[in-house]
């Protein structure tokens, strides 16, 4: 499985009134073809800005450094024109709220076919035929009729399926899904997760799922990257990260979840709150909230190092290393 996307030392500065502030700080990861890669983190961890940087959709006056090589070309050094040829064609995006990502006044057909006609040069009837197939793929009942409808006529879950169909229209190789199920009920979420899982298998589609919900990643992700303060805290195979976490932040996130077997024990929150933009502490960004911090953590900025094959953690003291 060769890497489809290779992000190396990605750094993003956002322009604020008090000058540039670092939102992503030296992030590196790879996503293979047909892989579901999960990025987990709380608000302000830089997970959404990572996706925006890959798509060239960062806010005005933001700056980036590093590399993001996709299909052999660096997305970060592309011109606006070159990016437009990739975006929507080779890389597509699904956002959190399908009621804002779909246009309320345009028919579903228009939204599904306009970029097929633009990117692929298809004619009207050909594009329409593919649109029907796409709606069937994402299990919209009665696709022919759905083409003439508008977004408001569908439920939240159906809208998200349509948004995924729009993203798939030009057969992208990579789908960026930013909190794709956060606005949905669990029953509907289950359907969307199954859909992403099936699309990956059927189309060898690579999917980056960005979410704060470790349960979602546990269901679909092959590998998981946990971000904190714009940096990687831990990255590795799903099972290793969720059952044998090596970074105290990952452990804390898992402990803060309700216990799967229930019971009267209190929830165990991580003390403090995540740093806001431009206020990431010196040293390890997590050290003020970490129960295992040693003096070095206040000054040394740790990079992820391999703790077992394929599994890296940015915590040199490795206090969880001895715990099976």
């Amino acid at each position: 499985m060769g890497a489809l996307l290779e992000v190396e030392d990605l750094t993003v500065w956002l322009a604020t009134r008090r000058g540039p502030r670092m939102a992503v700080d030296g992030l590196s990861f790879q996503v293979g073809s047909g892989e579901i890669f999960g990025i987990a983190g709380e608000s302000g961890s830089g997970k959404t800005m990572t996706a925006m940087a890959l798509l060239g959709l960062l806010p005005h006056a933001a700056r980036t450094s590093g590399k993001a090589v996709f299909e052999g070309r660096d997305l970060l050094s592309m011109s606006a024109r070159q990016l437009r040829a990739v975006r929507g064609r080779r890389i597509a995006m699904v956002s959190q709220d399908p009621s804002t990502s779909l246009h309320p006044m345009l028919s579903i057909e228009t939204q599904l076919t306009e970029h097929m006609r633009h990117h692929l040069g298809l004619g009207r009837s050909e594009a329409r035929g593919r649109a029907v197939e796409l709606l069937a793929t994402v299990r919209i009942p009665d696709p022919e009729q759905a083409l003439g409808a508008h977004a408001a006529q569908f439920s939240g879950g159906m809208r998200q399926r349509i948004a995924i169909a729009v993203a798939l229209a030009c057969e992208p190789r990579l789908l960026l899904a930013d909190e794709p199920t956060t606005a949905l009920d669990v029953t509907v979420q289950a359907g969307i997760l199954r859909l992403l899982h099936r699309l990956r298998a059927e189309r060898e589609l690579a999917v980056v799922v960005i979410t704060h919900d470790l349960g979602v990643l546990s269901a679909v992700a092959d590998r998981i990257c946990v971000m904190y303060g714009g940096r990687t805290a831990e990255v590795g195979p799903r099972e290793n990260v969720l059952t044998r976490p090596r970074h105290p932040y990952t452990r804390g996130l898992l402990d803060a979840l309700p216990h799967p077997e229930g019971g009267a024990a209190a929830l165990r929150p991580i003390p403090g709150s995540p740093p806001s933009l431009g206020e990431v502490p010196e040293g390890c960004p997590f050290h003020p909230r970490c129960g295992y911090a040693v003096p070095d953590c206040r000054t040394e900025r740790p990079a992820p190092v391999l703790v077992e094959p394929g599994h890296a953690s940015a915590c040199p003291p490795d206090p969880l290393g001895g715990i099976a």
Binding site: R139, D185, V186, A190, R194, L214, G215, E239
Partner: protein, 332 residues
């Protein structure tokens, strides 16, 4: 166990211009005892927030709602009856429920001012409450924007405590917060209920949190309560097929890579509910009579109740038949 808050046969209609009224809650029943946490769960649009607002009197409702023995009168232009002060509500969005231009202490102290305290006294006691919910005492002289989402929700909770409530209805109180803030605010609410011997209705779409903190759970579907009972029993052996479907849709962060089970179909339009049992079009165990007969919520054994033909009044909850052949198939 006498009920602190009791609702039976509650219905709420939303009147819409140019369309028939929409019945968001249709004959729902609830009861809550002192010192008890009742989780109220269901998909969006099931009427759980509407029911929560109706029981505190924020919405006019048909049916019988009593708090501490007094009937609930919907909020109007008149002053709320003094007996109702003990019933308070916490809202989802602490960014919207606090006034950005007033000191936090003044907002928390309003409850004491209404009780006849001076402003100085109200501010001092507000400071005490803010400390009680885990904020520094100097928070009283600061503005809401100086606090994070979790801290703001603590402020909103402190404000309800100023009224010295015996019952709190909390509508999605942690949904807008980050993971670690969710856990700490949920813990705070549980501590307060236990310590002050209050009752709490905890409305949430997050089933795993409800499972962790609620003593009893009520499950709503399309305007009705379809199952209620002690949380652990309800989870380990759900009596209503909808309860089971909800539970199996929750993904677990256990790293096992198990896809959650999908409940096919959408929640029907509440303006046109299905005939018979409202869940029958999506129910994996539906029988022919389910499209005709609308089962009432009946009391089973062991403090449980359910609205399903498979359950019989006065008997223990019957385990549901395996339905993997239906809902287990890959319905994506």
């Amino acid at each position: 166990m006498s009920a602190l808050l009791e609702a039976s046969g509650v219905s709420v209609d939303y009147h819409r211009r140019g369309a028939p009224a929409l019945r968001a809650v249709d004959g729902a029943d609830l009861s809550l005892a002192r010192g008890e946490i009742l989780g109220l769960v269901g998909e969006s649009g099931c009427g759980k927030s509407t029911l929560g607002r109706a029981v505190v009197g924020l919405l006019p409702a048909a049916g019988r709602i009593r708090f501490d023995g007094h009937p609930i009168v919907p909020l109007g232009r008149r002053r709320r009856a003094p007996g109702m002060r003990g019933l308070q509500m916490v809202f989802q969005d602490p960014y919207a429920s606090l006034n950005p231009r007033r000191w936090v202490g003044d907002q928390v102290g309003d409850g004491y001012l209404l009780g006849g305290a001076s402003r100085r006294e109200a501010l001092r006691r507000a400071g005490e409450l803010l400390e009680r919910v885990g904020l520094p005492a100097d928070a009283a002289r600061r503005y809401p924007h100086e606090f994070s989402g979790g801290q703001r929700q603590r402020i909103a909770i402190a404000r309800t405590l100023a009224a010295e409530p015996s019952c709190i209805v909390a509508d999605e109180p942690i949904s807008a917060l980050d993971a670690s803030a969710q856990a700490s605010v949920a813990n705070l609410l549980v501590d307060l209920v236990r310590e002050l011997d209050m009752g709490m209705v905890f409305i949430s779409h997050d089933l795993s949190v409800v499972r962790q903190i609620a003593d009893r759970t009520a499950v709503m579907y399309l305007g009705r309560v379809v199952e209620a009972g002690p949380t652990q029993e309800l989870w380990s052996s759900p009596a209503h097929p909808y309860t089971r479907a909800l539970i199996s849709a929750v993904p677990r962060a256990d790293g096992a890579g198990v896809l959650p089970v999908e409940l096919p179909g959408d929640v029907p339009d509440p303006a046109r509910p299905p005939s018979g049992c409202r869940f029958h079009p999506r129910c994996p165990l539906a029988r022919p009579e389910c499209s005709r007969d609308d089962p009432p919520l009946v009391v089973l054994r062991d403090g449980r109740s359910a609205a399903c033909v498979l359950q019989n009044a006065g008997e223990p909850a019957r385990p549901l038949a395996d339905s993997t052949t239906h809902i287990g198939k890959d319905a994506t």
